[in-house]
Amino acid sequence: MSTPLFALVLSTTTPYWPFWVGGLALASVSVGTLVLLRRPLGVSGTLARVLDRDELRRELRPPVQRSTADLEAELMAATLAAFGAATPDAAFGDAIEGEMSPSAVDADGEPTTAAAGPATRLGPRLSWSISLLFLLGIVGGGALAAATTGRPLAFTPDETYAALFGTGWLSWFTLFVGGVLVGVGTQLSGGCTSGHGLVGCGMMRPGSLAATASFFGTGILVSILLSAVLR
């Protein structure tokens, strides 16, 4: 009986999936997210959203539904309050409509892409609960992948890491500090290895290319330095 394809795919000399399976899976997820949800993949942004108290508050207490007429009246009052004399007369709210060329707005009255420049129409932002589900899926997916290779689901530091920080509380504390630094870095650069590395680089965004080069360049440099220290 021939070897099943699934077993062939996972057959490797290391206890991990072959790199190209991971590559295909990541490409499917990042392209799939863009195509299906019209949103770029971003793990750090999703995590920030899940940890945002305002997001949770909105999830638990959705906004009150108002009629169009009520909203229009409230919008009119808010516009007058914001701009005062600069606001077009309420009775002639359409007075400066002609200032926008017909090609600048689409059928819904929204500015067109041409008028807006290179803006891309994005899908609605994921809700708090979907964001949480996405993050749990990452942990669950990792556990599932590990289970298929027969590895135990445990944190087992490799020799280099153990030689530097041991295997006790210091190793956990170091991981925590590393996590905090990664969080600060992603907030500073506006993304992480998924947002910049997978999506941004795929779209050839200069900022993402620079950020990813910085992530991996620093990683390689630190690895070389640590190897030198441990020799």
Binding site: G42, S44, G45, A48, R49, D52, E55, R58, P62, P63, V64, Q65, R66, S67, T68, D70, L71, E72, E74, L75, M76, A78, T79, A81, A82, F83, A86, T87, P88, F92, G93, D94, A95, I96, E97, E99, M100, S101, S103, A104, D108, G109, E110, P111, T112, T113, A114, A115, A116, G117, P118, A119, T120, R121, L122, P124, R125, S127, W128, G190
Partner: protein, 71 residues
């Protein structure tokens, strides 16, 4: 501005607030003061930049409408 000579907010093509403002004159005044001017001061833009969700009820100046439109 279609000739690209002016720098617009990159979210101007996808801002969910616009369809809510039915009067073109009112829509225009918000766009002129925020989307086409100093859009960095737009509260919706700031939230987008921080990766946060943007309530449909949030106006560019930070004021919030008391409810969302009925669907």
């Amino acid at each position: 501005v279609a000739d690209g000579s002016k720098q617009h907010c990159t979210h101007v093509g996808s801002c969910e607030l616009f369809p809510l403002i039915s009067r073109p004159g009112f829509l225009r005044v918000w766009q002129v003061h925020y989307c086409e001017a100093d859009y960095a001061k737009c509260e919706r833009f700031k939230r987008a930049l921080a990766g946060k969700s943007i309530p449909i009820t949030l106006l560019p100046n930070g004021a919030e409408l008391s409810g969302a439109p009925t669907t």
